[in-house]
Amino acid sequence: MSERILSKRFDLADSHTIGVYEATGGYATARRVLQELTPAQVTDEVKKSNLRGRGGAGFPTGLKWSFIPKDTDRPVYLCVNADESEPGTFKDRHIMEKDPHLLLEGIIISAFAIGCHQAYIYIRGEYIPQIRRLRAAIQEAYGRGCLGRRVFGSGFDLEVAVYTGAGAYICGEETALLESLEGKKGYPRLKPPFPAVVGLYGCPTIINNVETLANVPAILEKGGDWYAAVGAHRSGGTRLFGVSGHVIRPGVYERPMGYSLKQLIFEDAGGILDGRALKAVIPGGSSVPVLRADEIDIALDFESVATAGSMLGSAGVIVMHDGTCMVRALQRLIHFYKDESCGQCSPCREGTGWLLKIINRIIRGDGRPEDVAVMRDVAEGILGNTICPLGDAAAMPVISFVTKFRDEFEHYIRHKRSAVPAPVK
Amino acid sequence: MSEIAHALIVTGYILSVVLTLAALLTWMERKQSALMQDRIGANRASILGFRAIGLFHIIADSLKMFLKEDFVPARGVRLFHTLAPFISAFCALAIFACIPFGPSLPLGDTTVNLWIFDSDISLLYVLALGSLGIYGIFFAGWSSHNKFAYLGAMRGAAQMLSYEIALGISLIGLIMVYGSLSLNDIVHYQGRQLFGFLPAWGVFLQPLACLIFLTAGIAESKRNPFDMPEGESEIIGYFTEYSSMKFGLFFLADFIEVVVVAALVTVLFFGGWQVPYLQADGFQLPGGTHWELAPLAVGLIQVGAFCAKLFFFCWLQLTIRWTLPRFRYDQLMRLGWQFLLPLSIANILVTGIILVCR
C-alpha cells in the first residue's frame, strides 16, 4: 500500500472531530508555518512540490498563488471550490465528511501564503451532511483559536465562511463561482483579467479545489521535494481516484500520481462486474474524452493521460462494460450538459441543446445517416469557442464517443435500435 | 341618243367600274395580304350574323368614315385642308376620262364608245393630271400645320417629281413606235401582230419602257416599296391631321391610283382591250384558223379582257406591295435619278436607232 496523504484518517473513528485530528498531528504544521515561515517560503515550497490543481485543469498551484499582485491595497480572498458536481467525481465530499480539519489546515496555510484574511468555502447545496460537518469543524477550529483573530497566537487573522450553492454545475467554474458568491447569476466571466488579479468583488482572489488545499499541510510538513517524489512526471503527490460504474468495488482510492489505470480497475476496484468484458473508461470525470478498452494501459498522471488523448481531469474514473450502449451513455452525458449550460455564450447554449435533440432523435429511431457527422461538427463548433470550459466539457465526450464508437452510432441509426442487447434484469 | 346622255352613261359606267374596283381593293388588300402571310384577314363585320368573307368591311369602313368627326387643326388652313383630298381624288379619277375601257360597241343602230373622250393629246392629259395630283398631297401637308404632315408632303413632292421624269421619258420610246398620243390609237395599234404571230403589244415592243413605267407608276401611286410620303413607321405622313371622309378620300384616291396605274399599263403595254388574234369578226389564229363571232360578242369579250387585265395589274401591285420592304429615302432617290432616268433615256436612243435603221 502506497503513501496515504489525504485519506490516512478516513478509517479512524470520529475522524472529523478536531480531537482526533489534533491527536494525529493535525494543525501542528499550520502552527509551525505561521510562526516560523514567511508567505514567500510557503509558496516556494508548494511550487517545489509540483502540486497541481485537483479540480480538473491541473494548473500548478504554487504558480497560481504567485499571480497575486504583491503590493495590492485591496483585500485578497481565498475561495475553496467545493462545488463538486462533475458526474463520476466524489472525492471532495469524502475529505469534507471524513477529514474536514485537513481542509481547514490547508486553508490556513494557503491563506497565510497569499495574504488572505477571508476565505470562502463554496459548497454545492446538495452536500447537506458535508455542509454540517464542515460547519461543525469550523466552529471547533474557531473554538481552539485555529481560525479567527490571531490564529494560533500569531499576528495572522483568518475568517472562514461556508457558502452553499444552489445546485448549478456551472458554479464549479471558478469565475461563475465568484459571480454566485457575489450573489449574481452564475455566469462565467471573461478571462483575462484572471481572478488572481480581479476576482471576488473585484479583488485578487485565489480559487482552489478542496483536494488541492488538503494536500498543502503534508507538503509543508514533509517538504515539497518529498511530495514531488511521490508522484510522477510534473505531477506531484497522490490523488483520490473515484472509481464508479461497472466494477465490483467502486469507491475512492488514494493512489500516487502515475498509478496504472489498468491496476486501478482490475486490482483495486476488483475488476468488471458480472465477469463481463471492459468496453470503455472515462478517466477523469464525465467531461473528458473516453478511452476504449484497448487504450487503458496508461499511467494516471496529467501528462500520460494527455498523451493517450484524454485528460486526468478530476480523476473520476467511470468504467463501462460491454453491456453498455454508448449511444444511450452519450445521451445521458449530453442531457447533463444541456441542462447545466448557463446560456451565456452562444455555442454552448445552442449547441448542447442541438446535440441533445439529435441524439434523442437517434434513440427514438428517427436518426439520419448524416447525424453522426453533424454531431461531430456541432461539437467541434463548440470546442474552444466558449467563455468557460463547460463548452469543451460537453464537446469532448461527444467527439470521442462518435469517433471511437462510430459503428455503434451508425448501427443505431440504420437499425433503429442499439447494437448492444438490452441488459437482462 | 344625245351626245350628253351618251357621255353621262359612259361616265357612269366607268366611274362605277373604277370606284367599285377601288372599294373592292380596300377589302382585297387586307384579304390578299392575309393569305400571303398565312392569316385570315378582315372577317368580323357581319350583318345578321352573315359575314360574307369580310366584304361588309367595305360598308363598315365607309360608314365609319362618314360618322367620324371632321377635324381641322386649329392653326391649319381650312380651305386647302378641305381642298387637298378632292384634288387628289379628282386628278386620279379624271385620268379615266381618256382611257378606253373597250372598243366601240355596236348596240342596235348606235355604237357606244367605252371612253369619255379621245384626243390626240390623251397621253399628255394623263401625264398632266398625274402631275397635278401632287398638289393634293402638298396642300394636305402644308395646311395641316403639323411637322410630320409637312415632312410627308415634302417627301411626296420630291418623290413624285423625281419619278415623273422617268415615267414621262419611258413613254417617249412608246410614242415613237406607236406614232400617236391618242390612247385609242395606241390600243388599235396593238391589235397588229409582229412576225405574224406575236401580238404587237407595248411590252414586246418596249420591254424596258414597260418595266420602267411600272416601277415609276407604282412610285407615283406612293405605295410600298415607295411609300415615303406616308412612312407609317416613322412620320405617318401628309394625312396625319386628316380624319373622317377627308381621310377616306385620300384613302380612296390611293386605291384609284392603283387602278390608274393598272389601266395605263394595260392600255400602253398590254394591248388595252385587245385580245390576241381576236379581230372585229372573230378569232383569226396564226395558222389560218378562223372562228367567226358576232361583233357584239367580240366587243364584250374585249371589254371583259380589259377588265381582266386591269384586275390582274391591280393584283400584281398588291402582291408587290406586300412582298417588298420599303426603300430608304436615299435609295429611292438613287433608283429614280441614277437608274431609271438614264435607262429610260437609253431606251429612247435605242428605239430611235432601231426606227431609223429599219
Binding site: - | 390578299q32 393569305l35 400571303m36 398565312d38 392569316r39 385570315i40 402582291t319 408587290i320 412582298t323 417588298l324
Partner: protein, 176 residues
C-alpha cells in the same frame, strides 16, 4: 454588322424581286385553295392560316402563363400574405401598394390592411411571385381579359385578388 456580298444577279434586283413575288404568290394561292376547299367541306385537317379566331376560338395558353394575380388563402379563408413588402420592393413597375397592419393573432403578427395591384402599370414580369416567401401571391389564374374603361378600374384590391369567379379552374397544387 458585315453586309453580305451580293452577286451580279442579286445586284440586278429584278430576279430577286421575282423570287420574292413567287414566294408570296405561292402562299397566296395555296392558302386561297385551302380556304375554298374548307368552304366546300374538304381538307379539314389542313390549316390555311395560323390565326386563332379569338374570342370564339380561345388561344391555348402555356401552363406557366403569367396571368392576373391572386392572393392565396389560409385554411380559415384569411389571406396568406404577411405584408412583408418583398413583392412591392422587387416590382420593377412599382405597381404594388401594400399597407401593413397588426394581425390579431400574435403568432402571425402582420397582415396587409390593403393590398392593391395596379394592372394598368403591371408588366406581368412575375417577380412578385418569385419574391414571395409565403407563396401568398400567384399569377396562375389564367385570367387575361383585364380591361377597364377607367384607370381606377385597373386597380385590384385585396378583395379582388382573393375572390375569383373561376376559382375552380385554378391549379390545385399547393405548397407549404
Amino acid at each position: 454588322m458585315a453586309k453580305p456580298k451580293l452577286n451580279l444577279l442579286e445586284r440586278l434586283y429584278l430576279p430577286e424581286i421575282l423570287r420574292g413575288l413567287l414566294i408570296t404568290t405561292r402562299h397566296h394561292f395555296a392558302n386561297l385553295t385551302v380556304h375554298i376547299l374548307h368552304r366546300v367541306g374538304l381538307a379539314k385537317g389542313k390549316r390555311g392560316a395560323v390565326t386563332f379566331q379569338y374570342p370564339e376560338d380561345p388561344r391555348p395558353v402555356a401552363r406557366r402563363l403569367r396571368a392576373r394575380h391572386r392572393l392565396m388563402k389560409r385554411p380559415d379563408g384569411s389571406t396568406r400574405c404577411v405584408a412583408c413588402m418583398m413583392c412591392e420592393t422587387i416590382c420593377p413597375a412599382h405597381c404594388i401598394y401594400i399597407v401593413a397592419d397588426e394581425h390579431p393573432d400574435p403568432r402571425i403578427e402582420k397582415r396587409p390592411k390593403s393590398f392593391d395591384i395596379d394592372l394598368g402599370i403591371c408588366v406581368m414580369c412575375g417577380y412578385c411571385v418569385e419574391a414571395c416567401p409565403e407563396d401568398a401571391i400567384r399569377m396562375d389564374t389564367y385570367i387575361t381579359e383585364t380591361s377597364s374603361f377607367t384607370r381606377e378600374g385597373m386597380l385590384l384590391t385585396l378583395d379582388d385578388l382573393m375572390n375569383h369567379h373561376n376559382e375552380d379552374n385554378f391549379p390545385k397544387h399547393t405548397s407549404s
